[in-house]
Subunit: 409 residues, 4 copies
């Protein structure tokens, strides 16, 4: 099997995005498609993408602005945004009625979250709290043997202040909370845990940890360091992991609500008993199939809010773990979610892009600890979604809702 | 702690999205923000989102079109798209040079994938294959006791044809491949595995499985069925799971490339030996921290391609698992990735939305099995990204690249 | 750090165990200890083991018999055995009242299982079933690249009968149920699943799979095989694994009982509500800490029965996974356990050793499918133990029982 | 299905084991078997166990001694013990040449470990270290809601000294190292980590934690405590868990050795390259099948040493996790194992029973930190076994060795 010859030379990476570079890329891409079509004897227009849907006027005008977030820029993709609310929250950092923008192309999703949110609001609102914050980077250090690993860790404990200074010198907002060594014979991982201010902080902790590693490599460590890496693939960055589930990565937030029996019936069209019965089956399903935690569809809320508000959507991979629990309180239903790995910020990343900044502003986050408030809103939205889907599945309405909203359109 | 009173009554869900409903929502949301600002004694404009960034003219014009994919529609969020390529593939379903659109706001990401893609192209291209396809739904059936579960499964084996007919009657493109029962005492899960044509097929299999369940509930099953659910939270839908890792969910694709030693040095600024040394540390990091599989950052490619091409971004949660492996072939480097849970389609979901359809068209997928080809392109892009990040981490360039592209902008 | 010189030359492995070889080993070992003591200036007797506790007369007399199960034989270690019962079972393979011998040195353990067993007996007995049997070996085959893996699996499908014949030619009792390939790029694992008659069958399936592999290596496979291994460390042999949890390895058995509310109070000193409340906390604890399944202490019953009856105690590592579930039936309590990886036999391994054979005989297993009956007894014993410990923990008696029986002796 | 009537009334639990109670139990059990045989029309002797193999004279004589470790005592089961060595260790706590007693009925096992040990000795010995010690209990506290959990943890931080005093007042040897709260909404688990002196310490930490809990329940905690449990099934006690893998439970020990290329060939009949090639396949097998860590057969060494030396064999379930790694050092082979959850003691449990005490004494453990030395010996034995089995599998000798020693006997 040989790859067919192709006249297309590919795109050179260019740093600075402008209207002109974007259009130049389109020209190359269109030529290529036309060429392919010609070779295949097909009409060219049938194959070609419509540049105006991606390289529209506003996207071309803002090319330089977008170019700070991406390379080889050709324009923007547009995702529909729906709003749910009031999401009534009575939390440590978020307090009040919030509209939540969700970007998705899955029909029925926003309607389902909205139903859950309305029910929670009518129940008096959702308690929320950020339980811990701490973004992890885990550099790795390789030695010749076990004894050297031990001596290295011993030496490290004598350099705590210097290590902190080296890391924190790189950042105005980040603080190094702790360094926890994990030794596997001749390899030592250091779990470096940081607070990151109002940012999600992935770059911040990479740069700080790099400085920490360089300090170690240059210092008078009594054992020879064979190799070091700023990340030993241990931190769970963009990966669901047991470490993240256990110790948290980013912000760990929890949310809960007590729904009166009557509201379960009227608002959710189910009963406390039926929802608990399904919960038992769903919990066992999680365990049997080997999931990290037990929940129904955190990922839907996470992806939709992350995309709408300029967060890193790849972090859905690590954020979409945690626990949904339900218990009876008399005839009423107590529901809770806990998400140990929420990765959100109100500055940095894509939060400053035009539509994303608007979506953030639309929520009306508090001036103090806005990222913590956002994490609580994310957890509360997940709670609303869990309640709604469990109600639908327990009462046998799940498929009908999807068929109605998704198929018969 | 009591939630503060709020004059905002929240959004009623409305079915049919139009220019007018979108603007009506904005009016409500703006009023709310203004009210909050007034109560807080702040100038109103400072808080308010800019509606024109979301509810721009094109988004308002296409409101009905977007409304088929979302409820409570208020406009669109715009994510920057960059292109990498040539991604030279020599696969079972994809064959040729492909540009790949990636939507992200993480600076340096597209540049890194582009570097990996270019290196693979110069190495002669990437082998790819879809190894299996099969989207899972797992309904659950609850009985009084263990013996009834056993009798139920025995009875099921006598109804194989009828079950298939019930499921397949609901769909033109889906086929029921197998039904595998998993018994846990009085609860029986049925792992129902389907092909879904060119669609990702999540709705398709839900509807088919619902029909299958209703057939069972109505049939002459000799034991009383206490409860049934169309999904027992066992399928790994939007959740990383061991089941998905082991048996696949959606499309399982693999990609590999052999990179000559010289190209490792010139194209990736590392060496085969250094990359393998890092690979050992990274692999151990994955295992120690309890990840599903072992890889560096599949999630980045998955999120970026899923968003650009109208796939369900929430599926990143389940897709971002799998394996990256490297081995020496003499001085050359053999690299491979396997992703068991790719969820992509070329029809359905958000693939028909304007910019997403263009992004799909831009790739020039083959007419035959385009979704399989797309799955192979996704795997090949992941491979390019793994190679690039491992090279950067092994050679100590990772932080510098991020600082340069992300910070000094 | 240098290892101190030692005059002890170590033990040469000898094949045939006899009274004389055992005594010769003791002589060497005693000389060594005396020498160490002399060098340390200590009295020799204080350090020395008492040979008569291990190399007692019966152990010396039966040296050749034991020697078939072990090398470098020096005698036997004695573990105390307690009996619980009646374990009243109403199962597919086991039916009647069984005494169960348990070997352990953990005080309170036998008493706790006995309490659970008595309560279940008074509740009318335990339902049990073996849900599946299938012992796995997973040979691995390494190729040059992805395409060769694909061609290999394609070729395999044409050799199904020959593969089965090659495997089954090595055994009178084993049957090859299925071969399921798992491809990761250039490596192919074959999940080979066997029934093993009344034996646990670990050796049986190793030998059969070796023959299967040798057939493949010698046959006309159209792609070159770089390497093959009889076990790719994929089968979960003596390791807790998701594969075992999902698909079973060995015998998968389930057991359940319905305990009237009154008996929960009188027999278990707890209440249905309290036990369910603890069950929710314990289930969450399992999930949060990343266990395979969710149960309290299967390992205690497994280790105690495996040791008493001559099973392979190392298999506790893989057997001690699964699920314990409880639900209310009105005021009564329904309890269930499912263990997917029970490794037991009534022939082979240590089952023919003198005391182990007596322990097996003591149970009075049925003549038909005795190993299946034994697996059901194991599951039922686990159930009894789960009920007893959950009752103790829910009612706050756990520590007291341990203190009383373990400390105040 | 009804359980058949049985005249057997079962065993009443009796506290104090004596010669007479043991014989009384035998009488009951024998009557039962005879009765069953009579009812089945079979000769009675064929069914009956031989009491003299279990209730031998020494076991009857020592009934009271054994009775401190077990209830319903009927005698002892005898497991054959083989010895490997010299296990040459150059460790932090163990240093010298050690014989290691292993109790197993799996033929070929002792021979294989002995081969590995001899090779390591000829390579100059094994480096070992205990990297951390800390036995965990994790009580759980249940509140009405999220906010109360938060207030509880805040309050706890003000009671650190009192909590430590309450726990440590119950034990002479245990020390409370740390209390780490893990909040899941309204449930709080406290990871209480202890050192346990020379004991394994499971009972010790249960009793200490019970006291800690009772202090909390009686103190002036500002929020109402709904329920508390001394163990929330979070600690990984007798269960493989991610928590144990990550943070250690009991003693975490590591061992490594550098084997010259020539010795790999002569002593292990393989090559460095072949062993590394198998290592890659085995590592992937571990990951694909969802094991906790990656190793070949730790369980074999653990079960054999635990049983021989009076440890709790049920702990094999949690101990048999960890990592085996190999890397080339030029042509030589560096091998390492790390076991984070070794549960051993030199006092307590079954260590004082006659034959077990002898087996412990036989090793000649140092007077200082003997349990740490034992943990290092366990790790070193695991290393020897991993090296031997990997060599056998990589060179294709695995099946032959098993067939020879296990079958042709």
């Amino acid at each position: 099997m040989a790859v067919s010859a192709s006249s297309w030379q590919g795109l050179p990476p260019r740093r600075r995005a402008t209207r002109d570079t974007a259009l130049a890329y389109w020209s190359q891409l269109t030529d290529r498609n036309d060429g392919d079509a010609r070779r295949a004897g097909q009409p060219q227009t049938a194959l070609g993408p419509d540049p105006t849907t991606i390289a529209d006027e506003a996207s071309l005008r803002d090319a330089e602005r977008y170019g700070a977030n991406i390379e080889n820029y050709i324009g923007t993709v547009k995702l529909p945004v729906g709003v749910i609310g009031p999401l009534r929250i009575n939390g440590v950092n978020a307090s009040g009625d919030y509209p939540v923008p969700m970007a998705t192309s899955e029909a029925a999703l926003v309607a389902s979250y909205h139903r859950g949110a309305s029910t929670c609001a009518r129940a008096g609102g959702i308690q929320t709290a950020v339980l811990s914050t701490g973004l992890i980077r885990t550099p790795a250090f390789v030695f010749d043997n076990l004894m050297q690993s031990g001596l290295f860790v011993e030496w490290l404990t004598t350099r705590e202040d210097a290590l902190r200074q080296a890391a924190e010198a790189t950042t105005r907002h980040g603080r190094l909370l702790s360094i926890e060594p994990a030794i596997d014979n001749n390899i030592v991982y250091l779990v470096c845990r940081y607070t990151t201010g109002d940012a999600a902080g992935q770059n911040m902790v990479t740069i700080a940890t790099d400085a920490l590693c360089r300090y170690i490599a240059a210092a008078d460590c009594p054992v020879p360091l064979r190799r070091w890496y700023v990340e030993g693939n241990f931190s769970g960055d963009k990966k669901a992991s047991s470490l993240g589930l256990l110790t948290g990565r980013g912000r760990k937030a929890s949310a809960s609500v007590l729904i009166p029996a009557d509201l379960v019936r009227r608002g959710l069209k189910s009963t406390t008993e039926e929802m608990l019965a399904y919960g038992r089956v769903a919990n066992l399903g999680s365990l049997l199939s080997g999931q990290h935690g037990a929940q129904a569809h955190f990922a839907n809320a996470l992806a939709a809010i992350y995309i709408a508000t300029g967060q890193d959507a790849a972090c859905v991979a690590e954020s979409a773990v945690g626990f949904t629990r339900m218990e009876a309180r008399g005839d009423d239903l107590y529901c809770a979610v806990t998400l140990p790995n929420i990765l959100v910020g109100t500055v940095g990343g894509g939060t400053g892009l035009p539509s994303q900044a608007s979506a953030l502003a639309l929520m009306g986050l508090p001036a103090e600890n806005p990222a913590d408030a956002l994490a609580e809103i994310v957890a509360a939205t997940c709670l609303a979604g869990e309640i709604s889907i469990v109600a639908a599945l327990s009462a046998g309405h799940f498929t009908r809702a999807h068929r109605k909203l998704a198929r018969e359109r």
